[in-house]
C-alpha cells in the first residue's frame, strides 16, 4: 500500500531551541523581522495588522472546540445544527472563521470513528482549535494516517475494533474538519463546563477518545 519513497519530506529534528534573552536572534527570525518591517514601511500592511492578528491567534485554543462539543452533548438541537453546518453553529457561540474556511463536524458513534489529517500541508480547524501540534504537520502522521489509520491510532494508544468503521478525512481545500467525540459514560448530569473540561484537542482531531481523566492537550 505504501508507495516507495526513500526521501524524507519533513524535518523530524527538533531544533526549536528556546531563544534566551542573551542569545542573538537566528537567521530566520531576522528575515521575518526584515520582511515584516519592509512591508510595513512600504505601506502594504501595518504593525497593527500583525499585532491584532496575533491577538486573534492567541484567542483560539482547543477550549473553543471543547465548548462546542460540550454544548452538542447537552443540547440536541445545537448538535443537529452543528452537524448540519459546523461553521454557522460555531458562529452562534461567537467563534468567527477568520480564515474564511468552512467547517464540517464529524460525529463519532459506536459504529464510526473519524480521524482528520492534511496530507498535502497542514490544513487544520484553526478558528476552533488554534494552531496544530508539530506531530500533525510532520511526515509520519501525514503520510500514514490515510493508508494505515488503525496502526497510526494504535500509536496513540487508541484501538478501534474491526466492526467499527474508520473514516479518515483528508483536508485539501476550503473545508476544515472537527471530530465530535463520543461522550464518555459516567458523565450523566455533568454541567456543560465540566464536560468541556475533559474534551481534549487530540480527541477533536480523532486520535484519542475523551476519557474522564483528561490526558493530552
Amino acid at each position: 500500500m505504501a508507495q516507495d519513497h526513500a526521501h524524507d519530506h519533513d524535518h523530524d529534528h527538533d531544533d526549536h531551541t528556546p531563544i534566551t534573552a542573551e542569545a542573538a536572534p537566528g537567521y530566520y527570525e531576522v528575515m521575518e523581522t526584515a520582511v515584516r518591517e519592509i512591508l510595513i514601511e512600504k505601506g502594504y500592511l501595518t504593525a497593527n495588522d500583525i499585532r491584532h492578528q496575533i491577538e486573534v491567534l492567541d484567542s483560539r485554543t482547543p477550549a473553543l472546540g471543547a465548548a462546542a462539543v460540550a454544548r452538542a452533548w447537552t443540547d440536541p438541537a445545537f448538535k443537529a445544527r452543528l452537524l448540519e453546518n459546523g461553521r454557522t453553529a460555531c458562529e452562534e457561540l461567537g467563534i468567527s472563521f477568520y480564515d474564511d474556511t468552512q467547517l464540517i463536524v464529524l460525529e463519532n458513534t459506536a459504529e464510526v470513528h473519524n480521524l482528520i489529517v492534511c496530507t498535502l500541508c497542514s490544513c487544520y480547524p484553526r478558528p476552533v482549535l488554534g494552531l496544530p501540534p508539530d506531530w500533525y504537520k510532520l511526515k509520519p502522521y501525514r503520510a500514514r494516517a490515510v493508508s494505515e489509520p488503525r496502526k497510526v491510532l494504535a500509536e496513540f494508544g487508541t484501538i478501534i475494533p474491526d466492526d467499527v468503521e474508520i473514516r479518515v478525512s483528508d483536508s485539501t481545500a476550503v473545508i476544515r474538519y472537527l471530530v465530535l467525540p463520543r461522550r464518555p459514560e459516567g458523565t450523566e448530569g455533568w454541567s456543560e463546563a465540566q464536560l468541556a473540561s475533559i474534551v481534549t484537542r487530540d480527541a477533536m482531531i480523532g486520535v484519542i477518545p475523551v476519557t474522564l481523566e483528561k490526558e493530552a492537550a
Binding site: E32, V35, L39, L57, Y141, S147
Partner: protein
C-alpha cells in the same frame, strides 16, 4: 525512476508513503514563529500573498530544502521569494534590511 515523476509529484504530496512511528512532538511557538503565522494570515486577508500562493511557494523550495528547514523557516523564505516576484521589494532591499535588523539587535545586546 523516470525523471517525469520528479516534476509531476510535488514534494509535499506524501499521502501513503512509508514513514516512521508518530512521535507526539509539539512545542510552544517562539514569538517570531507566531509573528510569522500572523504575517501569513494578514498577507492572505489582503490577498497580497494568498494561502495557496504560500503553499506553492513552499513547494517551490524543493524537496531537499523542505526536508531541511522547519515549518516557519519554510514559510518566511517562501514569503521573501514571492515578494521578489511580485515586486514588493528586491533581494537587495531585503539583504540591507536584514543587516540593519542584525545591527539593531547587536546594539540592543551591547546596550
Amino acid at each position: 525512476m523516470p525523471t517525469q515523476d520528479f516534476v509531476s509529484r510535488l514534494p509535499n504530496d506524501i499521502g501513503g508513503f512509508e514513514a516512521g512511528s508518530v512521535m507526539r512532538v509539539e512545542h510552544a511557538l517562539e514569538p517570531w514563529e507566531k509573528r510569522c503565522h500572523a504575517l501569513a494570515d494578514v498577507l492572505d486577508f489582503k490577498k497580497l500573498i494568498n494561502t495557496e500562493e504560500k503553499r506553492k511557494g513552499v513547494e517551490a523550495l524543493g524537496e531537499t530544502l523542505i526536508g531541511k528547514l522547519p515549518y516557519y523557516e519554510r514559510w518566511i523564505v517562501a514569503f521573501a521569494n514571492i515578494s521578489f516576484t511580485k515586486g514588493f521589494f528586491t533581494p537587495t532591499e531585503l539583504a540591507e534590511k536584514m543587516a540593519e535588523v542584525d545591527a539593531r539587535f547587536a546594539e540592543q545586546q551591547a546596550g
